[in-house]
């Protein structure tokens, strides 16, 4: 499982990059969902995000999940390319698979990489 050290993580398996303001789903989340076949970003540039509000809806071959904002802030960009290439979330969740970018992002209740790895390990038992 890949867990970049520069990112922060939520209990609902989203990541937030405080340097770029980007957020998305974790490697753990994509492996649990399995093959992702549909992504719909639910927010638009200019929207104001609140921590915990849905930013995207994801469907895999076996499940459907809402993705929640890991940080508050004003949306400056959305990754509209994901709609045509949902499998990007499986292959590259942390870079090409970013979903939304915010400016002045205030992270909610987040963990560092080490804490998140421990949190994931506990759940797999």
């Amino acid at each position: 499982m890949n867990t970049p050290a520069n990112l922060k993580y939520t209990k609902s398996d989203e990541w937030f990059d405080s340097a770029s303001g980007a957020m998305g789903i974790t490697d753990y989340a994509q492996s649990q969902l399995s093959d992702i076949v549909f992504v719909e970003i639910l927010v638009e540039v200019g929207d104001t995000l609140e921590v915990g509000k849905p930013i995207a809806s994801v469907e895999s071959v076996k499940a459907s999940a809402e993705i929640y904002a890991s940080a508050a802030g004003k949306v400056t960009a959305v990754n509209s390319g994901l709609a045509d290439k949902p499998e990007t979330l499986n292959s590259d969740p942390f870079v090409a698979g970013w979903m939304v970018k915010v400016e002045g992002g205030q992270a909610g209740d987040v963990m560092d990489a080490a804490a998140y790895e421990k949190y994931c390990a506990e759940r797999t038992h």
């Binding site: 076949v37 549909f38 719909e40 469907e59 895999s60 459907s64 809402e66």
Partner: protein, 451 residues
């Protein structure tokens, strides 16, 4: 495993387990007068006697295959049903109303639904069809659900033409209760003579869906291309409710760039059956497939590379997506979808066109003859398919009563739904009406005039 539940012995065991002495004790909290009543039934009949009694009851029905000549349509159409349909759908392998969940044992049924979807998509000119809904009215209501989901509730207005089937509009109102929607366009004062362009002015930035019917409830045929273009310029979707028989002859709603096309599949080889069960078809563009309600069968290959069929994109459905799904409906009319698929495949493209042409020409002959009777006339100048509105010199209900005396089931009394149209009859003519039938109608109406 036994299929006879609750033998006396089992009841005793269950009663003992919960510590109740008798059935009487179990129900003692229910006041005696509210318990299952004593039934006052006649003595039981033998099978032979019961068959005779039921046959006698059935004979009191008057049917349209011999008893009456019918010109009644308004959503239910009397078409010829090829004998092969009943033979195929009655086969044990197919004879279930339910959607198969297990592809390992259901390839035949899944392929039949896939063929149905392919045929319906071709007929409507759309990208994708679901496995069907209960009937045309519920399919129309699902179009509203889909548009609502597409805009995630951000748009709240639906513009409905007043000449969408009145019962479909009633079902849409029932389905959308509690969704805080604004339904515009079909109010009582709506101008029934104006064309689709009058709806365009009602479409604004809050409009999620425009619903029109093709041909409309009065049988009129409009090209909705301009209306659809105009609605799209406001970002709204457009649903066309259509008659599948008409699509054998006319431009498809898909060619008009409709976003959703729905309709009643009954004309495709399904008896009128006093109103149901019928078949609702639902088609849309590929880009909306994840917001579409209902089952969907897809074609794939199995692990040996063989062509096979499975329910697909199920993660959008209610059993997985829960309250975030477009609809809480994920069943379909499996058996009747099969009936319509057999109908379409038996007729083929040319046969579908021939049926539509027969309906068209016979209806136009009828319209020409009827409008020559003094006091009668065509209400609308627009082109029509197999149904048209006849203005009568007296209330439609009286005209129909007179026709029934002559063994004719007259048209639909439009005054039931449009108070201003109480002297107006909606007349439907299909390939089942011979020239003699039409001439009989003309003679009977000529008589009404001279009373």
């Amino acid at each position: 495993m036994t299929y006879i539940p609750h033998s006396p012995k089992e009841r005793d065991v269950m009663l003992a387990t919960i510590g109740v002495k008798s059935l009487e004790d179990l129900f003692k909290d229910i006041p005696a007068k509210h318990r299952f009543p004593k039934l006052d039934l006649p003595p039981a009949l033998t099978e032979m006697e019961a068959a005779a009694e039921l046959a006698e009851l059935a004979e009191s029905n008057e049917n349209v295959r011999g008893d009456l000549i019918s010109f009644l349509g308004a959503g239910a159409y009397n078409h010829y049903i090829p004998a092969v349909i009943n033979h195929i759908i009655s086969r044990g392998e197919f004879y279930t109303a339910y959607t198969p969940y297990q592809p390992e044992i259901s390839q035949g049924t899944l392929q039949a639904i896939f063929e149905y979807q392919s045929l319906i998509a071709a007929l409507t000119g759309m990208d994708v069809s679901n496995a069907s809904h209960y009937d045309g009215a519920t399919a129309a209501a699902e179009a509203v659900n889909m548009a609502f989901a597409q805009f995630r509730g951000k748009r709240k207005k639906v513009v409905i033409s007043p000449t969408v089937h009145p019962q479909y509009r009633a079902v849409i109102r029932t389905y959308t209760q509690g969704m805080s929607l604004e339904l515009a366009g079909d109010n009582a004062e709506a101008d029934l003579e104006s064309g689709p362009e009058s709806l365009a002015s009602l479409v604004d930035d809050n409009t999620m869906l425009v619903i029109v019917q093709y041909p409309d409830f009065f049988g009129r045929v409009y090209d909705y291309t301009e209306l659809i273009k105009s609605a799209h310029s406001k970002g709204a979707l457009v649903c066309v409710v259509t008659n599948p028989t008409a699509l054998g002859l006319f431009k498809t709603p898909g060619a008009m760039d409709a976003d959703i096309v729905v309709g009643e599949g009954q004309p495709l080889g399904i008896p009128m059956w006093f109103g149901g069960p019928w078949l609702g078809f639902f088609t849309t563009k590929k880009s909306f497939v994840h917001k579409m309600a209902g089952r969907l069968v897809g074609e794939t290959v199995d692990n040996r590379g063989q062509r096979s069929y499975v329910l697909t994109l199920t993660s959008r459905e209610q059993h997985i997506k829960r309250e975030r799904a477009t609809s809480n409906i994920c069943t379909n009319q499996g058996l009747l979808a099969l009936a319509s698929a057999v109908y379409m495949s038996v007729l083929g493209k040319n046969g579908m066109r021939q049926v539509a042409e027969l309906c068209y020409h016979k209806a136009h002959y009828a319209a020409e003859q009827l409008s020559q009777i003094e006091g009668y006339g065509m209400c609308f100048p627009e082109p029509f398919f197999h149904e048209f509105v006849l203005c009568c010199p007296k209330p439609a209900a009286e005209v129909n009563a007179h026709l029934l005396e002559h063994g004719i089931l007259g048209g639909y009394d439009l005054g039931q739904d449009y108070p201003a149209l109480k002297n107006h009859l909606l007349i439907a003519v299909t390939e089942m009406n011979s020239k003699e039938d039409i001439d009989t109608l003309v003679d009977a109406l000529s008589e009404v005039d001279h009373e």
